[in-house]
Symmetry: C2
Subunit: 260 residues, 2 copies
């Protein structure tokens, strides 16, 4: 793991890094309490589609976990996102397409969906991200950043990546998932199997008027998750309308499972 | 308002009282921070069917609101409940019937439902309780216990009472509701209209395998509530299986709207 310059701001030490997984160089960011010398609880924060490792919601959540709970947080650019965008024109088109859909009027769950151009590559990119996150855990454990207190937070594409990641990664103890569904997307059967195999505590977020899925499809993923200890928080509004105060619930959830 | 002996325990002053509303004498309990001399935020806690003003969940929540948030809490016996049971034999039968249903296996939403024997009296008892709670607010304001920081918590029958209460009572600023539905019960149209007229922030609790209603009926009530700022927390399990940790969410909810 190659560490770049650290910036400290209001008690939060932010340290960009890169590491290698096979042929890929993965860029990431680690946030820690300033001056921390021992492992703390760690939350892996995974961004959504068209976002990156330091998108405002990722950054806000990571800093908050450090400041409110004394945790560490880590985030990477998923394949084809952030610094790993191979074709900027294609990335821009994907962002515009997503923006067009989520800015639709409320309840426009029937807005035409653009399916991935290459379904196999799309599924493989989530599996690749899951592998990269496991390697990241290896490294953070080796560096004395993480111990056994590990959580995951990933909504939307962060859940598409979270399902294979959590299904294959026994070190994660609890997860915030949501804003995603199984039905109608490529790899549905695999993802459903992954969801059923998850047994850690899960907090699942659903937007009642999500433009990217039907209500039934969202409820179906909550149902599919194998955990006995799971909760679903539902809010009116579209895909990007989850109220900021829900971050209070993330704090409470992680503190309950990883300690304060 | 006639105040009975006060008991103080671990910082919580508990004061039983009675007051008159028309021909009815209503017994209630007030919980306050020990030694409080000024108004604090107040939560009206309304018990469920077959319960009473000091049932364990009511008592636990009230004490917690005092200890964690420095609030006051008040609770009354609803008509035909607690000290107001006119026919103990009938009350015992109702309790046994409810217990039989909620102890059914998970997902037994189709368990045969016992409808109220006298539908008109059943609806009227909720309206009566709503009136009694408004009179209680008058008294607590006059006594310097409450100011404008007032919340409501009532699940199951507490929501059946909460709907007419909140629809007619502008002093309440936020409410926790749930474990109830509109569909198929007497007075459905009235209650739906009451739900639509509610515009304060609402936290709504739904049990995914509630033996007393279908999922769709529970979701429908959440949908019907007029508030823009509303959230639904869904948990696996039956009518009485809401996890105890959900009380953390009540704390956060009330603190957000009534202050800490």
């Amino acid at each position: 793991m190659r560490q770049l310059d650290e910036i400290v701001e209001q008690g939060v030490a932010e340290r960009p890094f890169t590491y290698e997984v096979g042929d890929a160089t993965v860029p990431g960011v680690l946030w820690r309490p300033e001056g921390a010398t021992r492992p703390t609880p760690l939350v892996i924060v995974c961004h959504g589609g068209t976002q990156h490792k330091r998108s405002p919601n990722v950054l806000g959540l990571a800093r908050r976990l450090v400041r409110h709970l004394g945790y560490s947080a880590a985030s990477i650019d998923a394949p084809n996102h952030g610094d790993r965008v191979a074709d900027p024109e294609l990335a821009r088109a994907a962002r515009q397409d997503l923006e067009r859909r989520v800015l639709d009027a409320r309840g426009a769950a029937s807005a035409p969906r653009t399916m991935p151009r290459d379904e196999t590559a799309w599924i493989a990119s989530h599996a690749q991200a899951a592998t990269e996150l496991s390697v990241l855990l290896d490294q953070l454990a080796a560096d004395g950043v993480a111990d056994e207190r590990i959580g995951y937070w990933g909504l939307s594409m962060g859940t598409m990546i979270g399902l294979p990641f959590l299904a294959s990664e026994p070190r994660v103890r609890c997860a915030v998932l949501g804003l995603a569904c199984l039905a109608g997307w490529p790899g549905e059967a695999q993802r459903r199997e992954a969801a059923r195999s998850i047994t850690i505590p899960v907090l699942f977020v659903l937007q009642w008027d999500d433009q990217l899925m039907t209500r039934d499809a969202g409820l179906d993923l909550f149902d599919a998750i194998g955990s006995e200890d799971k909760a679903m928080h539902v809010f009116p509004g579209g895909h990007v309308d989850t109220p900021l105060y829900e971050r209070d619930a993330y704090d409470v959830f992680f503190a309950r499972h990883l300690g304060a």
